[in-house]
């Protein structure tokens, strides 16, 4: 039987029970009015004692199952937050907390996966801190790499805990392997010198926020359904208990009191079961805001049906890529037919084209025991368009690889230019202006001065738009891809201003390519691409094949191109792609917005992994700009340039 039927109609057995019960009550009332009609013997005297006991038992079991059981009402997603981004390392935290695993064996396996991941990290950390490759395995097995015996034990075959410690853990419900994992993460971080962590040490679980109390997702992830909330079970229990105890104690007033509970129960069946009809309308005070601008969204709900809407709870479909900064996109109210209500909230605009999702309407019947969940589209404005607005004074330094065209990149080629390069012997045909006349006057051979030629570079900006790039250090911080795209707009604009040829490409499921070119018409094309490409705003769940993407890219890249890759380096694929492109002869600069945090053990692991990936890239002679969160890109570039050799 579907839940729809259960709530629309009373089932056969329920009706039967009600009929039997009602007959008994009616007979009882008749006997009360006219005691003469009642038989003098009492064949159901037994029932008078049996039924109260049944009632009390049923009441206790109902209330216990209600209190212990799962809630049967909808737990809507936190639409206030961007659902497109995640925080790196969260999966490790949930593996350690055991929330993702089913059963102890599943949890053990999950911790095993964490151990494998940590082993890789530890291996790289040991390599960085000067342990020879052949000694690493022995170092890990002996535990010499750290002073923390619990941490060392995580990678050893024997347990580091004594019998009494294990007993204490069993009593406190602490998982031995989880404790070891935390110690191991702490020790590895110390070994790599990552000491300014927010997660203070292995004794702490790590920070929890209010978001952990719910789930972040899209409204379209919610199944529309109708269900019983079972909230009146406690009222049923109270009624049965009052009647049962009253009969057993021979207290008529208690039996009378029990009748009171029939009120809410009757309401559940007397109330209308048909769904009220509502219409939503949404207005925005600005549909084309500037990046980081505030947009006020006003929603009007009208009851267009002919039935009272006693309890409706509406969640507006905030675009998945935007966050609410003021007010709430949720509203609860009661509306009589024809009435309407209005509420508003403020979202922060971000680059891109954002579409509002269908809202979610949770309506309850008058007793609140039947909950209907359905999606409903709002009329009015559903789109928000936000174009990047570069200021044009920020650029990533380019390398000396240039094209033959004249530009502003100072090369090592001698010729005409401004900066002195070298002197060579005079050759017929050299411009008279560049002959070193002082030398001729001293009586030497004529020589020609050479200056460093200034050429144009061909720069292709690549953006990592895989789902791995939709990461942020905190739920409400700007995501790595947003920071990347903001920087790309700036760099694109300023490189065009310095007469370079600039192109734009993606490493992602969706293919998106703008061939290198110059001129201001080119910026218009780039701006449109940066604004409207949905791969940059929402991401994609499809699988990404690095080999295919690389092949596609290599066919298109001009020979003299140099690359700037914007990637948070959230996985090893990003590193291998960058290294391979660099090895193919396209000088590579990686701008890596930092999207990792250190507030929990899992986040710390992701932070360490990113650090190791940065060093891997540096080892491969790739220029790396480590862009910390909350820092202007210009500062990160200055810092990075200090460690580059020309």
């Amino acid at each position: 039987m579907s839940d729809q039927n259960a709530t629309e109609r009373l089932s056969g057995s329920t009706l039967g029970l009600i009929a039997v019960g009602s007959l008994a009550v009616m007979a009882a009332i008749v006997f009360i009015y006219d005691p003469g009609l009642a038989p003098t013997f009492d064949p159901v005297l037994v029932l008078a004692y049996l039924m109260p006991l049944v009632g009390i038992g049923a009441a206790l079991s109902l209330s216990v199952t209600y209190v212990r059981g799962e809630r049967l009402e909808l737990d809507p997603p936190l639409v206030e937050y961007r659902s497109t981004v995640s925080v790196p390392g969260t999966s490790i935290d949930s593996d350690l907390a055991g929330t993702t695993a089913d059963g102890p064996l599943g949890r053990y396996k999950r911790i095993g996966a964490v151990r494998t991941r940590l082993q890789t990290v530890l291996d790289s950390v040991l390599a960085q801190t000067g342990v020879a490759p052949e000694d690493r395995e022995a170092t890990v097995e002996s535990g010499d790499w750290t002073g923390d015996r619990i941490a060392a034990g995580f990678f050893q075959s024997s347990t580091p805990f004594s019998r009494s410690e294990r007993l204490r853990m069993r009593l406190t419900g602490e998982h031995a392997l989880v404790t070891q994992a935390r110690h191991a993460i702490d020790a590895i971080a110390d070994r790599l010198g990552v000491t300014d962590r927010k997660w203070s040490g292995p004794e702490q679980d790590g920070a929890r926020s209010t978001i952990d109390d719910g789930w972040v997702g899209r409204l379209s992830d919610v199944d529309p359904r109708t269900r019983e909330t079972d909230r009146l079970r406690i009222v049923t229990a109270l009624t049965l208990l009052a009647v049962g105890i009253g009969v057993l104690l021979d207290a008529g007033t208690l039996v009378l009191a029990g009748v009171v509970g029939l009120g809410p129960l009757a309401l559940r069946y007397l109330g209308s079961t048909s769904t009220p009809q509502f219409e939503m309308e949404r207005t925005l005070d600005d549909t084309e805001p500037d990046p980081n601008g505030k947009v006020r969204v006003t929603v009007t709900i009208t009851n267009v049906g002919d039935r009272m809407g006693f309890d409706l709870r509406y969640l507006d479909g905030v675009p998945p890529g935007l966050a609410v900064i003021e007010g709430s996109p949720r509203h609860g109210t009661a509306l009589r037919p024809g009435a309407s209500t209005r509420f508003s909230y403020v979202i922060e605009a971000g680059r891109g084209e954002h579409v509002f999702e269908d809202g979610l309407l949770v309506s309850r019947d008058v007793s609140g025991s039947v909950e209907r969940v359905r999606h409903c589209s709002a009329s009015g404005e559903t789109r928000l368009r936000c174009e990047p607005k570069p200021t044009g004074d920020l650029s990533v330094p380019v390398r000396a690889k240039t094209s033959a065209n004249v530009g502003r990149v100072v090369t090592d080629i001698g010729g005409s230019g401004l900066e002195f390069h070298s002197i060579r012997e005079y050759r017929p045909g050299d411009p008279v202006k560049r002959i070193d006349w002082n030398r001729v006057a001293r009586g030497g051979e004529p020589a020609t001065m050479q200056f460093r030629e200034e050429h144009a570079a061909t720069v292709v900006l690549l953006v990592d738009a895989r789902s791995e790039a939709f990461v942020a250090p905190e739920r409400d911080a700007p995501s790595a891809i947003e920071r990347s795209l903001g920087a790309i707009a700036e760099v694109f604009h300023s490189r065009l201003d310095s007469d370079d040829r600039v192109g734009l490409g993606t490493l992602g499921v969706t293919d998106c390519w703008l061939a290198p070119s110059a001129g201001h018409g080119h910026w218009t094309l780039a701006k449109r691409l940066l604004t409207t490409e949905s791969a940059f705003t929402e991401g994609s769940d499809e699988k990404f094949y690095p080999v295919l993407a690389m092949g596609r890219l290599r066919k298109r890249l001009p020979k003299d191109a140099q690359l700037v890759l914007f990637s948070p380096l959230a996985d090893d694929t990003a590193v291998s792609m960058a290294r391979r492109l660099h090895a193919y002869g396209y000088p590579m600069t990686v701008v890596a917005p930092d999207a990792t945090a250190t507030a929990t053990p899992g986040q710390t692991v992701a932070h360490l992994e990113r650090r190791l990936r940065l060093s891997q890239l540096r080892d491969a002679d790739v220029r790396v700009i480590d862009w910390q969160s909350g820092e202007p890109l210009g500062i990160a570039i200055n810092r990075a340039q200090r460690r580059w050799s020309r």
């Binding site: 009600i18 039997v20 019960g21 008994a24 009550v25 009616m26 009882a28 009332i29 006997f31 009360i32 005691p35 009642a38 009492d42 064949p43 005297l45 029932l47 039924m51 109902l62 209600y66 209190v67 809630r71 009402e73 737990d75 209010t210 978001i211 909330t229 909230r231 079970r233 009222v235 109270l238 009624t239 049965l240 009052a242 009647v243 105890i245 104690l249 207290a251 208690l254 009378l256 009191a257 029990g258 009748v259 009171v260 029939l262 009120g263 809410p264 009757a266 309401l267 559940r268 007397l270 006693f310 309890d311 709870r313 709430s328 996109p329 949720r330 609860g332 009661a334 509420f343 008058v366």
Partner: protein
């Protein structure tokens, strides 16, 4: 912006009122136990914990049982029971709103819900009380048996 499960002030006040009605009814009926239930029920709503609210309602109900069994006036016991049932209904509704609407507003819906439920409960209570008044003398044993049997069966069928 915050997304904490914050119960509305309306929900807290309504729960407190219903709890106070229950406690006063029980007090008039001769039992002070229900007084302890009011803060617990309100705390349950404040912490949005149905378990704590159930505990508070259980304390209120204990007051009803003590008053009823101790021979309190039927009017007082019925009033205490009305308060107890409403405390649960209104409190649970506030918790549910806090869970689904977070910091969003649901004040109007809560007041409408409380008004409808208390009206219907009051009507049922008055109806029950009138039957009780008629029946207070000399009813046959079998009538009570059938009444209890009927009520238990109907309630179980409807309120599972």
């Amino acid at each position: 912006m915050s997304v904490e499960r914050t119960p509305s002030a309306t929900g807290l006040v309504l729960t407190g009122l219903a709890g106070t009605v229950a406690a006063l009814g029980a007090l008039l009926g001769g039992s002070a136990a229900a007084l302890a239930g009011v803060p617990v029920a309100v705390a349950g709503v404040y912490r949005t914990s149905r378990t704590i609210l159930t505990g508070g309602v259980a304390l209120l109900f204990a007051g009803v049982v003590l008053a009823g069994a101790g021979g309190g006036a039927p009017e007082a016991v019925v009033v205490a029971m009305i308060g107890t049932v409403l405390a649960w209904d209104v409190g649970e509704n506030a918790i549910s709103m806090a869970g689904q609407l977070r910091t969003g507003v649901g004040k109007r819906a809560e007041i409408v819900h409380a008004a409808v439920v208390s009206t219907v409960t009051l009507i049922v209570a008055v109806a029950g009380y009138s039957i009780y008044l008629f029946a207070s003398a000399g009813q046959p044993e079998i009538a009570l048996s059938l009444l209890v049997f009927g009520v238990v069966v109907v309630v179980l069928a409807l309120g599972r």
